[in-house]
Symmetry: C2
Subunit: 585 residues, 2 copies
């Protein structure tokens, strides 16, 4: 049973609350007023429910088929038409440059479409998801000629893209990569093996353009010797390039997303950007990619939640603990009478809505950072986006995974069966904690790179923003229940941040504390998102707004308190962790 | 890649630390001295590694096949021989009464064998696991004649057993069950539908004996109108009884464990125990069954941990944060240099070893409760076993699930593939949080039944025991780092317990707080288990003992602090939870 309704009301509420108006005022976005955006999102909802969702279970059961003889990969029946419909709806091109046929919509609109597609068919969503990264890289680092040759086809969805980074000996540590690129005229011949290549081979589009990290012959060792190449599956003259899928991974989930081993045997490619500066090109698209991976936790958390609510509404079992709530003449009450059922649902709802808010907030910063006319505003927004992106990627996937498991628990034994599909969501989501930089890598990125950057400018701006919110509402007695815990949380976080940034904490201490620190950061950020939502909700007289306030109350009293334990444990640093030697495990 | 080595050293250490000597001194257990037990466990290890483990992946991939025409269920190839070898090794009969052909071993020995079998082939382990419950029920509630007719075959493993409790409209709430039993001579004709029947049909043994809950025609409504029947698949005259499998569930995991819909169409059965007193017979076997389900979390947590350690030992990626630990001439260091890798492994190790200790401790209490000559000692042990069983069942499965996920995270992308098998362990384990009474039902059992029982006698004895441990070692400065946090934890728990037991907390408040309370109880219990282990370890001069102390240190500083948040959130009670109305989700 797969059911889904896009959270359109929440989308609108968040866009209004978190400053979409100022994004729409940016150059080029005039056509995308909120009503226009909402009708686009409504179209997305229809597409997702009618086209993407019915194929989600099929994709899981049938999976992809690899033919070793031809090196081709077949997607389950229906996926070609799914992709075609996705393109027809304009979703592939939505956020891209109109100069190359894109829709020119704010990035944030594409992000929300993406949440819906991910919720209803995560495997499928990864195909256009990977194209995004390639498009961004070529748009930012390609030559005019490259842009003209690649972008129109990619944006139109006629071609799709991949990211070929990982090799058997190097995943997290890209400095170890060994794929070679040897110049041949204006092009290069690439040789090596890439693994974990999502949609590295498939039958949805007429060509696949691979973005490949490799080393030139004169490359220095390590991360500073990496260059980026574009390697098409089919060459411009119509011949097959010597890059081919040589096998598929067998995975716990995302069975309709082919994870390919790609073998490059002197494949022809062209350089994108400067030699040896490939990692810069990668970082360009990483924020967007990581934000979208974080949203996978929100998306699958939401569809699992909706499923659990539907199950709970229908199920009767046991009597209400409060005798007054027992239904007369019935032998059992609806399970919503049980406090633990509501507790589980609120655990999901209160974290997931705040995680979505944080992702939307971050996405709006990316829009501002891209388009604002004032460089200072661009910088401030870019700082925030850079700071929050690892938090969104890590926390939303980790909590999202727990949330899907909690939704399963609401359904009891039914949740463990394929009938209710939550088990698929759990399997499909688990990889999000690992790929696009494992969650601990996000934590190291946060504490080791994002926070120290520019002498802590981004963090200070963030902390000041949260503190300013608390100060602005300090006199409002009705808000105190939300402001006081947030004020406490930002104090805890500031203290931890100062400690980690001080010389006191050495590299191992920072490594030991980083993951806990990121979670403490996230809990505070979610508390701030609830604060913003409560202020907006109080100005409205709707049931939706009233439930927002109740949900916020659950968050600050049941979830946010975790920050104290995280902070305390983080302060233990490395001593107990590094005391156990490798051979003692 | 499936690898496993039974934790034999830990088994021995725990048996020595937690009082196996006094169990061996009980009547009938003289032959089972520790060396004998250890050689049995070593034989179990060999069986598990050589026979059970190689079929674990096959079982998952091939699964069970149902033939609707004949109503038969075929296990994957090799499982018949696996079962035969299990029986030949004496594991089916180990803990049972020698009068009926059993091995007469202490219950605890069978529990440890069970941990190993579960770790290496959870699906398979469920077949003999269900027989245990049936054997217990007939042994305790059957007539001499019933015992003579059923126990020898069941104990010999020639027949297997099931537990037919759940129906489509009743799982948690058995009071709703509607299967009818109509007298016919000395027997009964049973009609109804049972679901979630583990190994309800299979081809491993010559007969299947179903324990079926049903209502007699004159039964009062609700839970007090349930009787227990034994319904054989094949009747004594060799004809097929009219109980048959009519379908299988399709599940996230345990694919080689058939989960059957059983249809009873006037099936012949005989009453076990008194009419309408069936739930008493159920409670007899529930402690053992729930303890074993708790151990599933330990078992799969352990094999996943071992897999993660093997992966980590082999994998190089990135450089050590401490420059002195960088390996010269290598381009990357082993990932054990990264504090977060050790943190993840310690998170699993420090909880899993303490959970195993708690399960063994509880199991030893069951042995004492069964065999001790002094009724007061029996009662005291039975109190403890009753109190701790829901804690073991719920906490070990919940934390075990997180632990398997953490072990997967250590392996990065590989962990998500079928190559490393952790993904199977995660899928196989998830159901343990649901079946045999969902984890919240365990929490309600703890706060609503076990703690109030006999005016809190069991809880008071437990709390006194923990406090006595703290008092006994209060003067030992070297132990202070373990005793002080434990002393704090039991104080927190006592306070919570008093609050929940007071009239102050109404039914909804108790329901809202119960799951958090159970986890607070568990964290304290695990702290106590670490205290006992540290005291024992300090008296030894081995590497194993030294690592125990370091692991305990991790636990009290990184895990036990969670209790403060649990206590604080539990005290919020129902107010935020019940504030959200059913139609507001």
């Amino acid at each position: 049973m797969q059911l889904y309704n896009a959270p359109l009301e929440d989308f609108r509420f968040l866009l209004e609350t978190l400053g979409y108006a100022s994004v729409q005022a940016l150059p080029g976005y005039q056509d995308y007023d909120l009503d226009t955006v909402m009708s686009l999102l409504a179209a997305g909802d229809t597409f997702c429910r009618e086209v993407a969702l019915p194929l989600n279970g099929v994709g899981d059961r049938v999976g992809v088929r690899f033919d070793p003889a031809s090196g081709t990969v077949a997607l389950p029946e229906g996926f070609r038409s799914l992709y075609a419909r996705y393109v027809e709806n304009g979703f592939a091109s939505l956020g891209h440059d109109p100069a190359y046929g894109g829709g020119g919509a704010p990035h944030t609109v594409a992000v929300l479409i993406n949440e819906m597609v991910t919720a209803t068919n995560k495997s499928f969503s990864m195909c256009p998801g990977l194209s995004q990264g390639l498009i961004e890289s070529i748009a930012h680092h390609g030559t005019d000629d490259q842009r003209a040759r690649y972008l129109p086809k990619l944006i139109a969805g006629e071609w799709t893209g991949t990211m070929c980074l990982t090799e058997p000996q190097c995943g997290t540590d890209l400095g170890l990569l060994s794929t070679k690129a040897v110049p041949e005229g204006e092009l290069y011949r690439l040789t090596g093996t890439k693994i974990w290549i999502t949609f590295g081979e498939h039958d949805l589009a007429e060509n696949i353009i691979h973005l490949v990290l490799a080393r030139l012959p004169d490359a220095p060792p390590g991360i500073k010797g990496i260059s980026v190449f574009v390697v098409p599956r089919v060459l411009p003259d119509g011949t097959r390039n010597t890059i081919a899928c040589s096998g598929l991974e067998h995975k716990m989930g995302i069975h309709a997303s082919p994870t390919c081993v790609m073998t490059l045997d002197g494949a022809l490619g062209e350089l994108v950007g400067e030699p040896h500066r490939g990692m810069r090109a990668m970082f360009t698209m990483m924020n967007v990619a990581r934000l979208n991976v974080g949203l996978e936790g929100v998306a699958l958390g939401d569809i699992a939640y909706q499923t659990a609510v539907a199950f709970a509404r229908d199920r009767r079992q046991g009597r209400a603990p409060d005798p007054e709530k027992r239904e007369r003449g019935a032998s059992a009450d609806n399970i919503m009478v049980h406090p633990d059922v509501r507790r589980m649902l609120l655990e999901v709802k209160s974290t997931n809505e705040a995680m979505r808010a944080l992702a939307v907030f971050t996405s709006l910063q990316i829009d501002v950072a891209t388009r604002h006319e004032d460089p200072a505003a661009r910088t401030a927004a870019a700082d925030l986006a850079a700071l929050l992106t690892p938090v969104v990627k890590s926390y939303c996937t980790e909590r999202g995974f727990l949330n899907v498991s909690t939704a399963m628990q609401v359904c009891g034994g039914s949740g463990f069966t394929t009938d209710w599909s939550i088990e698929q969501y759990l399997r499909d989501l688990r990889i999000a904690m690992i790929y696009e930089g494992t969650n601990h890598i996000q934590a190291l990125d946060l504490v080791g790179r994002k926070i120290p950057a520019d002498n802590g400018r981004g963090y200070r701006a963030w902390s000041s923003r949260v503190r300013a919110f608390c100060a602005d509402h300090a006199g409002d007695a009705e808000l105190a229940e939300f402001v006081a815990p947030l004020s406490h949380a930002i104090g805890v976080l500031d203290g931890l941040t100062k400690w980690l940034a001080s010389g006191e904490a050495d590299g191992e201490t920072v490594g030991a504390a980083a993951s806990g620190y990121l979670n403490a950061f996230a809990l505070t950020a979610l508390g701030y998102m609830w604060g913003l939502q409560v202020v907006e909700a109080r100005a409205r007289d709707t049931k939706f707004a009233a439930v927002k306030v109740k949900t916020a109350r659950y968050y600050v009293n049941h979830v946010l308190p975790e920050i104290d334990v995280l902070a305390r444990v983080a302060r233990e640093g490395k001593r107990h962790v590094m005391a156990v030697e490798p051979d003692e495990f």
